[in-house]
Symmetry: C2
Subunit: 391 residues, 2 copies
Amino acid sequence: MTDSYKPRGFAQRVDEIEPFRVVEVLARATELAAAGRDIVHMAAGEPDFPTAAPIVEAGRAALARGATYYSQAAGIPELREALSCFYADEYGLDIAPSRIMVTPGASGALLLVAALLVNPGDGLLLTDPGYPCNRHFLRLVEGRGQLVPVGAADNYQLSAELVAANWQANTIGAMVASPANPTGTALSREELAALSREVRSRNGYLLVDEIYHGLGYDAPTPSVLEVDPDAFVINSFSKYFGMTGWRLGWLVAPEAAVTEMEKLAQNLFISMSTMAQYAALAGFEPATREILEQRRDLFRQRRDYLLPAVQELGFTVPCKPQGAFYIYADASRFTSDSQKFCMQLLEEHGVALTPGVDFGHHRANEHLRFSYTTSMDRLELAVARLARVLA
Amino acid sequence: MTDSYKPRGFAQRVDEIEPFRVVEVLARATELAAAGRDIVHMAAGEPDFPTAAPIVEAGRAALARGATYYSQAAGIPELREALSCFYADEYGLDIAPSRIMVTPGASGALLLVAALLVNPGDGLLLTDPGYPCNRHFLRLVEGRGQLVPVGAADNYQLSAELVAANWQANTIGAMVASPANPTGTALSREELAALSREVRSRNGYLLVDEIYHGLGYDAPTPSVLEVDPDAFVINSFSKYFGMTGWRLGWLVAPEAAVTEMEKLAQNLFISMSTMAQYAALAGFEPATREILEQRRDLFRQRRDYLLPAVQELGFTVPCKPQGAFYIYADASRFTSDSQKFCMQLLEEHGVALTPGVDFGHHRANEHLRFSYTTSMDRLELAVARLARVLA
């Protein structure tokens, strides 16, 4: 074009939404692998297992019978029903299917709750470290994440006391994750109840990310719904059900919120993947659950191996990770630049980890996240490689 | 709970985002059908054909070989490459794959452009009538759709003159659709060029919804990219490629926008459906294209039948729909309450149509949208039924 077109700049929010730093690590890992290097991948936020065969087969069957059209904005009724039964069976909870909305991944659930609850300028208390997209969804709708630095003394979680101490005039609620990314720490029923009381006393909203439920290794992880029927729960078929690439999550909301959320879902999504929803139904069958439980056992074995091994290497892991598939390690003995350290471990030793800076600001440059989403022999190889350099 | 919990209200935007009124029509249609009534469905915004067999087979094959993991936030490279070739073959355009982002439906593309471009208080010129979600995506990020009433004299489209006349201090650009929902009208290359010049002279952004491209029945529909390399194009695998239930769209953006959009996509979506992307690759194969072109011919035959038939019934359709699968009919001879009229036609005559109120405010209550997304014999039956009541 020959005109003097100078488009206005991008929206301000763009400057405040951060990229995943691990993408740089992953891109370099791909290059190195292409050049023949052996890389141990411990940076991914997804199970290394492919989706369980019965789910895959159900997806293939749904396609074969023509489940290729739009479906209901809140999800197919069969899946909402199945999730309701899941809450009854697993938690002893009576959650009406009408309160359960299927979403395009937990990402879609986060978009819905942000759109529903957050006015411009509103703040939501979040842990730092935590899942970075939470604050970016808030920023999208002109709200803000109010990051509360949490450490070992807090089990890396918000507590009623931290909520009380950090609540501001513009705070509308708090969000926690249990088990949490990147730390793997979980909240007990009592801790959830105390959080709920504190947030309720302020007429705020309590949001709980339960996407790593089903991947707890010591004790069953309680749902916030056991102690607070008004909480918003974000969940996903990605982690325990192993369906990352299908993009399917769900949301449990108070009855009063459902009509509005369905309206939002109509406008923002139209529909979720229809065949993915029929596939997900197979996730609740006993044969599938058996596979998923075996995988959970493997994750536990890996954690039980990797946690002491990582500590042996000189990292500090003050709170035992109780779930998910992560170890958040204090690397302050080795670095004060987590991104640079990750690139160096990759470049020189072929081990891909996630830098702490992907999870917030609080001592983020002194931490790394190990994902035990690779087989035991690969974990052992990574530990052996790291032992040579860090010893 | 025994406390006096009174959560704050929902965010203000929720009141300003409207539900799809057609949902009421569809829900009642389902009830009537369940009660044994024969309903002719002409309300859907999706092709009546199932996804073409080669695409379905490619999806099944992708699942069988384990394509169940996350994939790149901007889309798998093969699909971005295939889309680049598609622009070369179909339009003679050289669009680098790096400028093409795969998105979760056109909905995902709309979310990305809104997030990228719109600051709170910014306005974007839109047609009224038009696709309602456009203004709701703007509202989501605290921008506003600036609705420009368009009628027959405007071919239901924005023009350079309308842009000039309606541009306000807070306007950041204009969005058009060609062919458009609900009117089926398209913009010529000259009209697109004039729009582009006008918007560029104001350093604004031009967004074009091209999701009904490939479904033009009179002349090839030009892409705005033929006249403006800086325009943002929203497109989809849902309509021409017939993949509604897979949730896959794409976005073509100026090179300068891509890094930022990829960052937004990482945070908002993580990934699109991986198997859907491998399936979509089959959409470009000659055998598939042949099926899609046959379906396009059927749509044209339906339009050529339905347009005069609707006019014969007493509806006014001043601008010949050139594409998509809709006829936007002026029903002012029969009603001044399009929703009520739609419910009545459904209830009494078993014909499901979409009320004009779903597409905006301008004379919306005097319009209906006919979708010719059902077979010719069903269209004939609907016309016969309507002839009895409207004659």
